[in-house]
Amino acid sequence: MMGGHCVVKAQIYAGGRGKAGGVKVVHHPEQASNLAKELFGKRLITPQTGPEGLKVRRILVEEAVEIAREFYLSITLDRESSRYCLIASAEGGVEIEEVAKKSPEKIHVLTIDPYTGLRTYQARKIALALGLTGSVCEDCVEMMLNLYKCCLEKDCYLVEINPLVVTRAGWLLAMDAKMSFDDNSVYRHREYPDMVDYSQLDPLEITAGKYDLAYIKLNGNIGCMVNGAGLAMATLDVLKEFGGEPANFLDVGGGATREKVAEAFKIILQDGDVKAVFVNIFGGIMRCDIIAQGIIEAASEVHCELPIVVRMDGSKVEEGKKLLLESGLNVQIGDNLGDGAQKIVKMLAEA
């Protein structure tokens, strides 16, 4: 159907695929099939995937068109103005950050007033600034308006078309797109969880997601469980300061509950690299004795013999400490953030 001339594109949850060999033009069906065979199951390593890369499980085959010009078009959220904004660039098909650095004059940014929405005349100004004329210009205007509509209806953080091309025959075509959805909006888009390609995610991250825990695998050997993202980041910082290497970032949520603490503990221990566990819970209003019970239950259930340091603050902190020390686990208590980090690094060295 495509006469053999087509573009084969690996579908992974990251950009920068072209340079990594994930996007190729072929001229014969057999060539396409060979390339697809080669790509399926291959781990593609791009600047956005990390060193382990992402496995290719889906491939997009697209008609190769003769491109006259390439553009970039997106709608995204601007934190500073608290508004959505439209970004367009006269240079598409490449990484937009590169364009922003090298030739910022090619990038047009329009902040969208939430009362009026994106207006036709505003979109037209941008299309004209991109150098489009005639019917292609009007097609582009319509596309921008639709893009904004899509962004709102689908609750997106980002809707991006890159590249948007004008073919030699004068057609405006979206050749590739990326959308990122607002996690908080899932309650009104029940279809979103089914759309996730779980092969693109770390299995532990998937499990953590089910329990509403934010987990990111890192390269070290000290498993970390912390409540609150800021404190979790600070905990990684302090571990490194004392010579430790965190195995993960794990935020059990500001108001950690006993169930979440227990699930989080199990997830940390599923990572084979973990040789010690550091728990830092600033419970505040949460009762420390309840947190301690969660840790003890989870550790006993999975027969954890690894060294553990627990630093807790909040109500009933003495009761919590007592429960932990009497639990039979290989556990020490950190009196404060620094003391806890030092203790776990030392326990690990002596283990």
Partner: protein, 290 residues
């Protein structure tokens, strides 16, 4: 003095009959906060813990004279709750709710900006003026009255910082958790301005984290306007490049967002930056000596 709230603040709670709304209402009242009304649509007329519940914010204001709202309404109705408190002409709305869709907040923020109501949050621990009034979910016992203003977009990391300040004998005037969402009401600079004009506040501790450009913006404002010493901590020096941040967002902020860049900008603007989360209290003491 202090900022935003004090012992005379009359507070209403939106979502008072929910589990966390009720729990934290009790906690705030135990701390000494004056909770004069609750609002839960459909439950007007009842009392919880002796507090009258109304169907609308306007009614609650009319009968009790409340001027401040603390919002615990679940995400689907939270943006609406913010707008209702704006329309009722409240001085301040503090939205604790976590998980409000960003699309709802873009519109709510645009309307709130045009109103006389200040907004703190959403997705924040709230505001506390130690010894006088607690409006949020933070543990009261770590705070002590004093002269250091605290502003932060983190939750539990703020508790850590406050505890270190208290342990060093540095009490706080008011602590404001501005929230970690992409769209929030008051930002660092809005709070810094208030601390700058507050006679009780003699110094400010600021807590930031990676992502966005808000800390850099605040640093420049401090350099040009702040009359009082400022110390800061930025979390995430060792964090791997953010997974969640979309591409295009980074363009607008001009590639800002890394902890090192934030720390350098703050230092260049005269802020004492704690290099470790274990020495936040010391950094504040050092800034006060300068």
């Amino acid at each position: 003095m202090a900022i935003l709230i004090d012992k005379n603040s009359k507070i209403l709670v939106q979502g008072i009959t929910g589990k966390s709304g009720l729990f934290h209402t009790q906690q705030c009242r135990e701390y000494g906060s004056q909770i004069v009304a609750g609002v839960t649509p459909g439950k007007g007329g009842i009392h919880v813990e002796g507090i009258p519940v109304f169907n609308t914010v306007a009614e609650a204001v009319h009968y009790t004279g409340a001027t401040i709202s603390m919002i615990f309404v679940p995400p689907p109705g939270a943006a609406d709750a913010i707008l209702e408190s704006c329309e009722a002409g409240l001085e301040l709305a503090v939205c604790i709710t976590e998980g409000i869709p960003v699309r709802d907040m873009v519109l709510a923020r645009a309307i709130q900006e045009q109103s006389k109501t200040l907004l703190v949050g959403p997705n924040c621990p709230g505001v506390i003026t130690p010894g006088q009034c607690k409006l949020g979910i933070m543990p009261g016992y770590i705070h002590t009255p004093g002269k250091v203003g605290v502003v932060s977009r983190s939750g539990t990391l703020t508790y850590e910082a406050v505890k270190q300040l208290t342990d060093m004998g540095l009490g706080q005037s008011t602590c404001v958790g501005i929230g970690g969402d992409p769209i929030i009401g008051m930002k660092y600079i809005d709070v810094l301005k208030m601390f700058n004009n507050d006679p009780q506040t003699e110094a400010v501790f600021m807590i930031g984290e990676i992502g966005g450009g808000a800390e850099e913006e605040a640093a420049e404002w401090i350099r040009d306007n702040m009359k009082k010493p400022v110390a800061a901590f930025i979390a995430g020096v060792t964090a791997p490049a953010g997974k969640r941040m979309g591409h295009a967002g980074a363009i607008i902020t001009g590639g800002k967002g890394k902890a090192e860049d934030k720390i350098r900008t703050l230092q260049e603007c005269g802020v004492v930056v704690s290099t470790s989360p274990t020495r936040m209290g010391e950094a504040m003491a050092q800034a006060l000596k300068k």
